[in-house]
Amino acid sequence: MNDADLDRLLSEADPSHREAPRSLDPLVTTTHDRSTPRRITARVTRRLLVAGGALLLAGGLTASITADDYLLSVPPFVGLLAHEQRATEWIPFTPAAGEPDEGEACRLYPEFRNLTADQLRAIDITIREHDWTDISELAEQRAATSPTEAEAASAASLVVYDALADTVPGMTFRGGGDGPEFIGYSMTCRSDLG
C-alpha cells in the first residue's frame, strides 16, 4: 500500500465523519451551567509547596505538602532557617499535569543556603532573564524519565537548578556542607496570577 492509499484509508476510517449527536450541544450548555466560572467567584487558591516539595507531575507523583488557605499573599510566606535565602524574583509556572491544577498560574520562588548577597542578586537576574516558557514540560519529561520516584518528585527542582547552577559556581543540589546550595522552592498558585 502506498502513502496516498494509506492516507485515504486513514481518512475513511476517521469516525468523526459521522454527524454530531444532537444531544451534545445541550450537554455543553449543561456543563457550562453546572460549573462555576472562576472569574466570577474570584476565589484565590493559595497553595504552598515547601522547600524540596515537588509539583504535581505525570503519573501522579507528588512529594508536595499543600496547605490551602495558608496565608501566602506576600512573599516570603514561609519562614527560612538561618543561612537560607529565597530569590526575590519568581519563575512563572503553569502545571501541565495533575488535575485540578492543570493550567493554573503559579509563581515559583527558588530557595538556597549559604549564598552571599551578591550571589543572590545574580540569581535574581538570571531568573528574570531566563526563558522559562517550557519549564512545566521539562519538569514533566524529567519526571517521566527519572529512574526513581524520589528523583521524579524532585524533577521541577532539578530543572530549576540546572538553569541556575552556572550563575553560582560550585552551587550543589541539596549537597549539604558549607558551600552554596540549592535546596528547593516555595510556590504559590492563584487563579489571578496569569
Partner: protein
C-alpha cells in the same frame, strides 16, 4: 465598551468550546469501550474546561491543545478507575449506544483497525492524533510530552508498518 469586549471574548470562547466538543467526543469514542463511556468522559472534560476557562489560551491552536491535554488526563483517570457518572450525559450515552453500532463497517477499515492494533500503543496514539484529531507532528509531540524528532521517526515507522500490514488490500 469593556462589557461589549468581554461579551465578545466570551462568545468566542463559547463558540470554540462548542465546536471542539464534537472533536473531544470523537477523541473519546476512538479510545474507549463501550463507546457510550465517551459521553461521560466528554461531560467530565467539559466541566473541567468550563471551570478553567480563564486559563484557555487565546491562540486557537494552543487552546485546542489545552483542551485535548485535559481530555488526555480525563482519559487516563478513566483507565485507572471509573469516571464518576454524574448523570449529565445520559441522553448522549443513549444516543451513542443506539447510533454507534449501527453503521455498516467497511472491511478495509476493519483491516486498518487490526493493523493499528499491532502497533506500539504510543505509535497508535501518534497516528490517531495526526490523522484523526488533526494535530501537527509538533503539536502531537507537545501533547504526548515527547521530543519532536522522536515523534517524527515513530510516526514514519508506524506508517511504514501499517502500509506493510495492509499491503494485501
Amino acid at each position: 465598551m469593556t462589557m461589549t469586549r468581554d461579551r465578545a471574548a466570551s462568545d468566542v470562547v463559547d463558540a470554540l468550546v462548542r465546536r471542539e466538543a464534537v472533536a473531544l467526543l470523537r477523541y473519546f469514542e476512538r479510545r474507549v469501550l463501550p463507546i457510550e463511556d465517551a459521553a461521560d468522559l466528554v461531560s467530565e472534560t467539559l466541566l473541567v474546561i468550563w471551570r478553567r476557562i480563564d486559563a484557555l489560551p487565546s491562540d486557537e491552536e494552543r487552546a485546542r491543545m489545552w483542551m485535548f491535554g485535559i481530555a488526555r488526563r480525563v482519559l487516563a483517570t478513566h483507565r485507572r478507575s471509573s469516571i464518576r457518572r454524574a448523570g449529565l450525559a445520559d441522553r448522549l450515552r443513549d444516543e451513542l449506544a443506539t447510533s454507534g453500532h449501527s453503521a455498516e463497517r467497511d472491511p478495509r477499515v476493519d483491516a486498518l483497525d487490526a493493523a493499528m492494533a499491532l502497533l506500539d500503543t504510543r505509535d497508535q496514539e501518534i497516528i490517531r492524533l495526526v490523522h484523526w484529531e488533526g494535530f501537527t507532528l509538533r503539536a502531537t509531540a507537545k501533547l504526548l510530552r515527547m521530543r519532536e524528532g522522536t515523534v517524527r521517526s515513530r510516526y514514519s515507522r508506524a506508517r511504514a508498518r501499517l502500509a506493510a500490514s495492509l499491503s494485501g488490500l
